[in-house]
Each structure stands twice: as C-alpha cells, then as structure tokens.
Symmetry: C2
Subunit: 499 residues, 2 copies
C-alpha cells in the first residue's frame, strides 16, 4: 500500500519536473508541437500579415511617427503593479542566476520605461511587435498567448486633446485603409466615469470592480449588470440604479449638453474637467473629419488602471461581423474572461483597436530613477496612444484576399540561366534535379503561380536559343513557347514581365 503511494508520489514529482510519468509511453510523440497558445505562420499567412503591417506603418509614418524596438523581455519589476489583476497572466523567465525578467505583456509599459529611461520629453513613436499573455487561448477567436500589437503613441506636454484627437484620426485612417468594413469608435473619459461613480456613491475601493461591470453593458442587459454590481459586488441597489441612469447614456456631441444639464454630476470638478476635454475633442474631431465614426458611450470603461483621460475602442458594427474561417463564433459582443474581468487590448470579438490617455505611467518610472523623490515639473511625461490588435484584422483581410504569389521558372545550363536572371533582378527558381521531368516542372509553375518558364533542350543548347513560355495564359500558336536568342532572353522576359 505504502509503496503504491510512494510510486504515485514519484510520478507526480516526475511530472512536476517535466519528465514523463513512468506509466506514459510515447511522451515524445506529443512533443512535436508549438507551445500552447502559439502557432507558426505559413508563407501565405505571412504575406497577408506583412501587407497589413505595411498599411498600418504607412499611416503611422504619414503622421510623422518614428519606430523604436524594445527587448522581448523586461526586468520583472518594470512590469510589476501595472496591470492590476491581469498581472497573473505575465510570463516570467526562469531564474538562471541573474536578473528576474518577464516577457512583455504589452508595448505601452516598455514604451513608458523607454521614455523615462532616456529622459525623453516628447516623441511620437510606433511599434509593431509581439506581446505575451498566459491567458486561456481561444485560437478560433484569434486569442493567442503570443500575438502582435501595433501601437501608436504621442508623449509630451501639449495643449489639451490635440494629440488625443489625432490618435482617433489615426484609428480612422488605419481602419479605412485596411478596408475592414464599417466600424465605430466608442469614446468616453475616465474623469467623467469617475465622477459618475463618485456622485452615485460608489466606495473608493470598489470603483475598479464596478467599472468592469459597467464595461459589460454592450454584452449584457442592464438587469444582469446590476445584479453583478449588487449581488456579487455588494453595491447598494440605489447606488447601482443611479449608475444605471448615467452609463446608459450614449450619443454624439449633443450628449455633452445632456451632461451639462445634470447639476449633481457637474458639481464634481472631475466631471467638469472631463466635459471640458470632450468638448475640445469634438471640436477637433470635426476639423479632422472623423465625427461620423465617433460614438460617445458612457458604458465604455476599459480595464487597465493606468488610463487617466479619454479612452476609446474601435468596434466593427454588427452588420459587419460575420463568422469567418478563424472566427466561427463572432457575435459582435465583447468577450468576458472568467472571473468577470474584461481582457484589455486583447483581441475581442468585434473590438479591433483600443487606447486612451495615460498621464502618470512615465512619471512612475522617472520617480523610480530618482530614487522615489524629485517629482519635479519635468519628471512626468503625459501620453496618449492607440493599440491595434492585428489578429482580428488579419482574419477579416484573410477571408477576402485571393491567393497571390509572384514568381518566375534544369540541366547544368539552368544554373547559368538562373544566375543571369538573378543578376538582372528577375525572380527565378528551378528544380534541383540534374534530370528533372518537364511535366513536374509545369506542375510546379501551376502550384506556385509562376508566370513564365524558360525552356532549354539539347536543340536550344546547340542553337544558342531558349524558349520562353507563358505559364499563366495559353497564347494561341505559342503553346510550346517562343524561341528567342539566348542573348535576348533577359530583355524579352523583362518586356513581357513589364520590368
């Protein structure tokens, strides 16, 4: 009996240390995979992804942004205390004798660290890179543990709401350029939201958790959200009802007048500041021609702690969200994680970009640099930014794009010809066989969408000619290819390829 227990414990130890249990035979046969929540991207997927990146990059660059690159891991303490409850999703590196490090969870915190570390007072930067979250993967919904974010941020002391409006303009330009279909950018302001909670009577320590409940209003009916606030989170029913009145408000610019007409709310200095900001925002959004895309929505709350001003989230509108290969369960509704926390800036169904103003983050790092003191005038750098979740955009673009590959097509002579083609800048490939079969090469042209073939037989070698054959289109009378002088091969091909 005791031996059994011991053996079982031994097995548990083996499992804990990563060795296969004694009972399991073919542990090796399960090892040929990528880690949970990660995947390889094939050439076709990469070509779509790089098109998306290049479209996004060109918008960012048009706005004068420059790119920086930061390490894939950061000192653990840099990430500590930045993500609230989601900190449990951070990947740590093993302690192998040295510093404690963690994989980056987003691109915002490393950016703030970079700005503080280098004493930068203002910069407009973009970064397109992978981030890591030990979340429960939902690959079919595009939720991965390793995924790309495309971030655009403006750091610096500027006049109120000008860079904020530009971030929303950038979102409109990116999503329009990518042709993702119709979308709306929901906006709200943390100070107005805080004022609502304040005047409704939410205790200080419950603001964050009540805020998450509010953020579910686009998925759940008010009754359910209220239930969560009162039954789960212990809020007084009267307080919840008051919140409910406020956060169900949405509209456009005219909503500001509605808010101004609420004396109880406007008694809060936070509300006054938020409303003044939003007033400016709408002024600038009008000039930027983006008013039609914007919806002022008091239920937008966002989960991350570090936002201090305007917040926004771009969502595909209902009509546009249809099940695609990679998104069979898309419903247009927000996705809520276990425990009721909403996963910020993660790829949600329907949500494709999000961000906001975070004025304190750089200051946290600057203060650390100065050993906790000297919170001087210039130690803080206000920031605002937007992050695009590319997996969702990817699946939309992927479902529409036709396959597209452009390539051009042995004996020993083939090596020489390939050399000439490469030297002339013409993409070329050949079968690595001394005696390749013609038909198999034709098949390769078909499969790889190679538009032109150069044919060489003993006749051609003897006469100093080559045949060039259109593999994409059958040309009447030229089914066997056209014979051209070897010395004219490059110019003939260039002409036909339009090079």
């Amino acid at each position: 009996e005791q031996v059994k227990v011991l053996l079982s414990l031994k097995d548990k130890l083996r499992i804990a240390s990563g060795e296969p249990a004694s009972g399991s035979k073919s542990a090796k046969s399960f090892s040929l995979k990528t880690p949970k929540g990660t995947k390889d991207y094939t050439a076709k997927e990469m070509s779509v992804r790089s098109k998306i990146f290049s479209t996004i990059t060109s918008v960012f660059e048009k706005h004068g942004a420059v790119t920086i690159d930061t390490p894939v891991f950061e000192l653990k303490e840099i990430l500590t205390g930045k993500y609230g409850e989601d900190s449990k999703l951070i990947y740590d590196l093993k302690d192998q004798g040295g510093e404690e490090c963690s994989l980056r969870y987003d691109l915002t915190v490393p950016f703030a660290r970079h700005v503080a570390m280098n004493g930068i007072s203002n910069v407009k930067r973009f970064q397109i890179a992978k981030v890591y979250r030990r979340d429960q993967p939902a690959m079919t919904k595009g939720r991965m543990r390793e995924f790309y974010q495309c971030d655009y941020d403006i750091a610096g002391q500027y006049d109120a709401m000008i860079p904020d409006a530009e971030c929303v303009r950038v979102a409109v330009e990116v999503l329009t350029s990518l042709d993702v279909g119709s979308f709306v950018i929901k906006i709200n302001h943390r100070k107005i939201l805080d004022a609502i909670f304040e005047v409704s009577g939410v205790p200080e320590d419950k603001i964050r958790t009540i805020s998450s409940a509010v953020d579910k209003l686009d998925k759940l009916p008010w009754a359910d959200v209220k239930k969560e606030m009162t039954e789960e989170k212990g809020l007084d029913e009267s307080v919840a009802d008051k919140i409910g009145e406020y956060v169900r408000l949405s509209g456009r610019e005219e909503l500001l007048d509605k808010l101004r007409a609420l004396p109880e709310l406007m008694a809060s200095s936070k509300a006054q500041e938020g409303v003044a900001d939003m007033d400016l925002f709408f002024k600038y959004a009008k000039i930027y021609n983006i008013l039609d895309y914007v919806s002022f929505d008091m239920s937008l709350a966002r989960g991350l702690d570090y936002y201090t001003g305007i917040i926004y989230e771009a969502v595909l509108t209902e009509e546009n969200v249809r099940p695609t290969e990679a998104q069979p369960t898309a419903t247009g509704a927000k996705e809520v994680k276990e425990g009721g926390e909403i996963d910020e800036s993660q790829v949600r169904v329907g949500s494709i970009a999000a961000g906001g103003r975070y004025d304190e983050l750089v200051g946290m790092f600057s203060a650390a640099r100065r050993g906790g003191k000297a919170k001087g005038k210039n130690s803080n750098v206000p920031c605002v930014g937007i992050s695009f979740g590319v997996e969702r955009i990817y699946s939309i673009v992927m479902s529409r794009l036709p396959a597209e590959t452009i390539k051009a097509n042995k004996t020993q002579v083939a090596l020489k010809i390939a050399t000439e083609l490469w030297d002339a800048g013409i993409p070329a490939e050949f079968t690595y066989k001394v005696k390749p079969r013609l038909q198999s090469q034709y098949n390769t042209c078909d499969q790889e969408v190679i538009p032109w073939a150069v044919l060489i037989g003993s006749d051609e070698v003897a006469s100093g000619n080559v045949k060039i054959k259109n593999m994409a289109v059958k040309v009447e009378g030229e089914e066997g290819g056209v014979t051209v002088k070897r010395s004219d091969m490059i110019s003939e091909l260039k002409q036909r390829l339009g090079l």
Copy 2:
C-alpha cells in the same frame, strides 16, 4: 557573532532571490534599465536596420524563398540535445503550471521542427527574427543576449550540392548588396574533416572537442592550438602533428587535387564522399560566378553538432575590418569564449554569416513524431542553409550612412491643414500648441530634416492664402516663403516635393 553571520546569510538569500539586500537603499534607482545584454533601438537605428532587412529580404525573395514565422519560445524538449555544450546558454521560461518552454536559441532548430511537424517535403524559406542566448554580453563588439538572425534555408531531397552552391551564391549576393566591403567565404566539408580526425587517430569521443580547437587556427598560431590539443585535451602529440599537416591546408579548387593525392586520407570513404561533394560544389560555384569569393580552408570546423556536409563562414577580409563606434576592438580574428568553446553563428568579430548542410535534424523530429519508430524513406528531409548575423553588418552600415529623415511641417487652422496634407498622402506634423512659437517650429524643422513648412498667420487666414517655405535650402528672394492660394497648397507642395 552568530547573529551577524545569520544576517549576512539572510542578505545573500535576498540577493539570490532578486530582492535588494537590507543594506542597499536605492535598489529602485537601478531598475530603470533593460535586462543585461539587451537594448532599445532608437528610431535612427531602426531605420538603418530596416534598410538592411529589406536588402536581405529582396535577395532571399529573388531566389524564390518564402518567409514563415515561429513562436519566440519552443517546448524545452525541442531544443534539448541540439546545441551541445552551448545548451547551458538557453533561456528557460519559469514553470508557471503548464508546459516547459525555452526561448529560441537560433532559427534553424525551430525551422526543422516546423518542417517535421507539418510533413513538408521541400521548401525554400527565410526568416528574420530575434534569438536569445545567455552568453556573456560584449555590447561593444555587438554581442548581445537578444539579437537578430537572418536565415535562408533549402529543405528537400535534391541532387547533390546544387542547393548548397545556391546558399553560397545567396551569401555573395547579400554581402555585395549590403556593400560591406571585401569579404571571403571560407568553405570546408564535415566529412573531409571527420576523415582527417579518423585517419589521424583521434578517438571518437574527442572529435568534437578537437574540432573546436582546430576552429581557432585563424586566431591562434598552430603551436598554441597543438598545445590545447595535447596538454588540455590529452591528445597524443603524434596525432596532433598529423592533424596539423592536414588542417593547415587551404586554397581554392586545386586543393581538391592535393587531397586526392593523399592516399591515406582517400582510403576513408568519408573523405571520398566529401571530396566528390566539393568537386561538384566548385563546378557549380564557377557557373554561379562566385569562385572569386570562395576559399577552401581545412581549418574551418564550426561548432554546432548538427552539420553533416559542407560548412561555410563569410568573414570580412583584414583590410576591411577597422574599429567602428560599436566595434572598438575589432581585429578580424575569431572570438573565443571562455572555456575555449567557439560561439557558433554568434556575431564574431570579422564573421558575418555562416551555415552549412544539416541532413539529420528534421529526421530527429520526424522520428519523435512517429514515437521513435518508422525511420522510413521520407521521414528525413535534408537541409542546407545560411545565417546572417545582422549586428555586425549593422555596425558597418551604420558607420557609413548619413543621417536621413524625410518629414514635411499651428493655430486651430493647422489641424485642418494637416488633415488636408494627410488626406493627400503628404507626411505632415505640427507643434501641439495652441500658440506655438515660430522659431521653435523652425528649429524642429532643422532637427527633423523637414524640407517644407506651411505658414499661416492672421493675414493668410483672412486672405485665404498660405505661405510655403523651403526649410532645407535658402531660396533667393523667397526667404519668407511663397504665398500661394489655399486651394493650390496641395498641388504646389506636391510639385515641389516631386510627388
């Protein structure tokens, strides 16, 4: 006394666990950094790096290669047993309840895993991505713990040496396109090298370590290498002398005739196979016009275990290697790590690309997939590839390129004008100030090399005009800018910008 010891031990424990020692005050003031061996890349550095990547990519694509992307971490067991002694440099992720994972050490092993996992029989792929090694960093020499590799590999059953010669041709094209200066590509063959060790009498279990000693011959004189072989590694002096005769041979194609004239060596079937391969290689290299770049060097050994055929390494030639900002100690000689191991495919001083044939790696993974059995005909996929270490190339290119930025240049009207410029595809920026000072904007144009400014004062607003001013060049009579109609602004700017 004992209390003192205990307190000191406590401190040691704290340090070991990453906490600050009780005595140290401002632990936080040291945290604002990137992890050891990593760095942020600034906008300027990124622009140089992306030019290098785009040059390399265009060569790879010209040869018909497609790109794939793999996760930054792999299951630990995928990497186990692939890198010999260097396995100690692998970064592991912390066990947070799940799979054991490690950061990728190179791009070759993940590629082989990808090929085996997907049952791919042939593919020509490239990948440009970061790899991770817990090596002693030497940032000034460009040796980092996080660094980029640019890999080009051909997988598939093909006729001997055709893809191998193409990899060397690709190296020549890449290094020529990048204009790195004069270089030579050293080549050798693992089978010839193994035959040399065999006929010299090196015991089987010492072949790897003796091979590393040989690889130092371009840095150390033969006497030192021999000393390492005999005194450190216990080889008979007569055996070392025999090796010495062989490995000091170098030359070009004619070296093959010299080898063929050595009956003892040629009695080895491995030597016969290696020489036949190299004979073919030179034949193809001649057709590919790369003979001038190639040096047949019997002292090239390479450290990685998985090579099975031709091996090569591109090195800058002595005259070309000069100290640069990032490389103050460049000497053109190979760098040897502590313990005498040579760091393979790592950025060495002078070495900028390396690779070779590895025919067994995919088979190791395929065998694992089939539970260790079924080593059938198609379970193995022979591969050959080359890896470019971009940090070294980066520092060469960086030392030559001039700063280069192209950007173009408020009241509330500025937002409207910026919108028009963005809509027209003209890059534009403005100061985010309601009342910006003109001189500070002029300074920004200078700093950011912005070629044109659009000027608006109350006069211009009233008259419906704008002034456009060349910021790059002083134009006689146009020092204050040229007044144009607001409606002509875009066309006037486009014309001047050549758009």
